[in-house]
């Protein structure tokens, strides 16, 4: 509904994505210089001026599929590669984390503080690269300019728009389950204790007045929670104490993050009409993607710099298993990009997406015009010979056999 939601959605999800990738890069012992290059390339692409210009244009939010396509491109704006299963998991984690933050956000305006927490962290990632720092700072200032003076009602509309986007997402994330912030049914725990939002009074008091405005009676009631006064308001300046911890990095190198993807029930909310829309990208979305990604400058890998594959799972087998067992309705994949009605738009989009190909790399999941069907192998066989990957289990043959046992026949590569 609010046409100012997209920049906040994009930057916060992007921030979560960077937290997760940073953690995986460290967990997989990727050499520091490579890891830093990845982070710098990603952040530099995210904060590209032309790209952000498109993003900040007033527009409705697009579907999860459309947004996922953008992050897919973004994640591949570096020498790092992700298989579809890892990309799925990355997107699951990003969205559930931000959903949690939006839900627990004390005041609607505090969404800005969450955004600033992400931006503060992003600035820290690129503290050694002044040029990229500048890009981030400029965006920071732009956000303060655009959102700083919005009234509370507008922030609440933004929050409601975000919650609409996250509706019906109940993916269980192990780090959330362990920390008891998420229930086993995928819903988040909403605490009924702690500080009230800034500007809200602790519940429990009834004051009654006469026609002259004098207080005539005062009563207390048991409201059921255990709230206390808010100590201070977070800073909305370029730098300062945000007070709110939502939006700060919750991942550490040692905690592996699993997601359990629970499929919807048979009588899911998607009726036929929604389903058709969910499977194809509408014309508007194609236009949006074309504009947005036209502004996304993807650097081609320079020289002989070899790429590497990042795995969001602990092993190759886990990644493969996840790819095969992901419920159909939770597939983010852009399945029918060719089936879209507007042929011209489609061709233009295909062309733009083709421009993003880094031609040194062998065919991977990022083929022109769409993604390999998840039933196919994620290219494990080719990629091990093409470039050195740094995973502890470089045995694609095992993955091959795994499929065989599941399907009873050899999968066609």
């Amino acid at each position: 509904m609010s046409v100012r939601t997209l920049p906040l959605l994009f930057l916060n999800l992007g921030g979560e994505m960077l937290y997760i990738l940073d953690q995986r890069l460290r967990a997989q012992n990727v050499p520091t210089d490579k890891a830093r290059k990845v982070m710098n390339d990603l952040i530099s692409t995210m904060f590209n001026k032309k790209f952000l210009e498109e993003l900040f244009k007033p527009q409705e939010l697009y579907s999860k599929k459309a947004l996922r396509t953008v992050y897919d491109r973004l994640a591949h704006a570096s020498i790092m590669r992700l298989n579809p299963a890892s990309m799925d998991k990355l997107f699951d984690l990003m969205t559930m984390a931000f959903k949690y933050q939006v839900l627990l956000c004390p005041r609607p305006k505090d969404i800005l503080l969450i955004t600033f927490n992400h931006l503060d962290a992003i600035k820290n990632f690129v503290r050694d690269s002044p040029d990229i720092m500048n890009q981030v700072d400029e965006t920071f200032r732009h956000i303060i300019e655009v959102y700083g003076c919005l009234p509370a009602g507008e922030f609440q509309l933004i929050r409601q728009t975000l919650l609409l986007f996250f509706q019906d997402m109940h993916i269980r994330v192990s780090i959330f389950l362990k920390d008891k912030v998420q229930n086993s049914n995928g819903r988040f725990v909403l605490p009924i204790s702690g500080p009230v939002p800034w500007g809200t009074k602790v519940p429990g008091l009834i004051r009654m007045f006469n026609n002259k405005g004098e207080e005539v009676k005062r009563m207390e009631f048991k409201h059921g929670g255990q709230y206390v006064r808010a100590e201070s308001e977070g800073s909305f300046e370029l730098s300062g104490d945000r007070v709110l911890t939502l939006g700060t990095n919750m991942y550490s190198a040692s905690r592996p993050v699993e997601t359990r993807v629970s499929g919807a029930l048979k009588n899911s909310s998607l009726n036929t009409k929604d389903n058709i829309a969910a499977r194809t990208l509408a014309k508007e979305e194609l236009n949006f993607l074309a504009r947005l990604m036209g502004g996304m400058e993807i650097k081609k890998t320079s020289g002989p710099e070899p790429g590497f594959r990042l795995n969001l799972f602990t092993t190759d087998e886990e990644e493969e298993h996840a790819a095969l067992t992901r419920p159909e309705e939770l597939s983010y994949q852009v399945i029918n990009i060719q089936a879209a009605q507007d042929q011209q738009r489609n061709e233009e989009l295909t062309r733009i997406m083709g421009e993003f190909e880094i031609h040194d790399q062998p065919q991977q999941s990022t083929s022109k015009g769409g993604y390999s069907n998840r039933k196919l192998m994620p290219g494990g066989k080719e990629q091990s010979t093409a470039f050195p990957h740094l995973l502890p289990f470089p045995k694609p043959q095992i993955v091959h056999t795994h499929t065989k046992s599941l399907h009873g026949k050899d999968s066609d590569l």
Binding site: S184, L190, G199, I206, K222, N267
Partner: protein, 360 residues
């Protein structure tokens, strides 16, 4: 299949804990919830209830996003019928969203009104036939403004609907047939309308019978008629007022900072200020025969308050009756299911059932 959802989930999350205050004059217990196919949108006032003539049957309406769901259920919770309504001109990736569904009880008929990002759809009460469509006027909109209609109430034979610009549209509804006419446009509010409330005019003295609220917290009190007359303005000082009710000449308003304030409608004098909730209030409802007020907020709590008029001062007084914690749920809709307030229903974001409570 939706019952499966209940059994899979952790019991703690769905049965909710009843944390009643003591002394508790009204004890409410959980009844069987009504399962739904999908979860409600996190929008204000996202539940409307219509008791049906058939004994014990209640009809519920709520908004999911691009669709509105109507369900009727028996006291045992089993859904009797379901219907989904869509926005007119629904097309495109995020179909036009429906912002609210509300049953308008008029002297000779009951109509279901849906407000959306495109306009206003009015149906027969069971949602079977659309009798009227009004498209929103977007000529004055700037590109950064979200366009939508929101806030619905019936006053006599008028239906009032609010819009994003602050304009309130007043429709004149005939006793039967589709000949609904836009009778007036009220241009006082400058911020998007959040909610509208009305009550039957209380005799000759009490003239105020409609109150409109907006995102800046401004309340406008009106006298309805062929030409609506503005009686009072009550400022909210910037805090949105998502929900408002009118009872015996008093305005009860729920605010985004969790406060409930009760004003004398004709003068605007503040009579009661309640620090009621720890998060923004999303729904208020009234049981007029008992003077009970129901409030639901994003803090997971639903409270019931008893309003009464002090015989000496004539001022409104409030007592807290009941507190209900809907565990891990941000309440987005709450309604009494009868005029005496002996039962109520609650909807919440990410909750795929309508919770029901009734007095023991």
């Amino acid at each position: 299949m939706t019952f499966l959802l209940s059994t899979e989930s952790s019991l703690g999350s769905h049965f909710g804990t009843s944390r009643t205050s003591a002394p508790d004059r009204s004890m409410y217990r959980r009844e069987r919830p009504v399962p739904m196919r999908s979860c409600p949108a996190a929008l204000y006032n996202n539940l409307s209830v219509l008791p049906l003539p058939a004994p014990g049957l209640t009809q519920f309406a709520l908004v999911h996003g691009p669709t509105a769901q109507l369900l009727s259920a028996a006291p045992d919770g089993l859904p009797v019928s379901q219907r989904q309504l869509h926005t007119k001109d629904g097309a495109g990736p995020g179909f036009p969203l429906i912002t609210q569904a509300y049953w308008c009880v008029l002297p000779f008929r009951v109509l279901l009104v849906l407000t959306s990002q495109r306009g206003i759809q009015i149906y027969e009460s069971d949602g079977s036939v659309m009798v009227y469509w009004h498209a929103l006027d977007s000529t004055d909109a700037s590109p950064v403004q979200a366009l939508f209609a929101r806030g619905i109430a019936a006053s006599g034979h008028y239906i009032c609907v609010g819009t994003w610009s602050g304009r309130v549209l007043v429709f004149d509804v005939p006793a039967k047939g589709p000949n609904i006419v836009l009778s007036e446009e009220l241009d006082v509010h400058q911020a998007p309308i959040t909610d509208i409330a009305a009550e039957p005019a209380q005799g000759q003295d009490c003239v105020a019978d409609v109150v409109t609220a907006d995102d800046s917290g401004l309340l406008c009190v009106w006298k309805s008629g062929p030409e609506f007359k503005l009686l009072t303005r009550i400022s909210g000082f910037g805090t949105p007022c998502p929900s408002v009710q009118l009872w015996q000449g008093s305005v009860a308003a729920g605010y985004g900072d969790g406060q409930i304030r009760i004003y004398e409608a004709s003068s605007g004098a503040l009579h009661v200020q309640i620090n009621a909730h720890a998060r923004g209030i999303c729904a208020l409802d009234l049981a007029p025969e008992a003077g009970k007020l129901l409030s639901g907020a994003e803090d997971s709590f639903v409270h019931i308050w008893k309003l009464s008029r002090n015989p000496h001062s004539g001022c409104i007084e409030v007592e807290h009756c009941h507190a209900e914690c809907v565990t891990d749920t941000q309440v987005c809709g709450a309604r009494f299911c009868d005029l005496r307030g002996s039962s109520f229903a609650v909807t919440g974001y990410d909750l795929a059932e309508i919770l029901r409570y009734s007095c023991v």
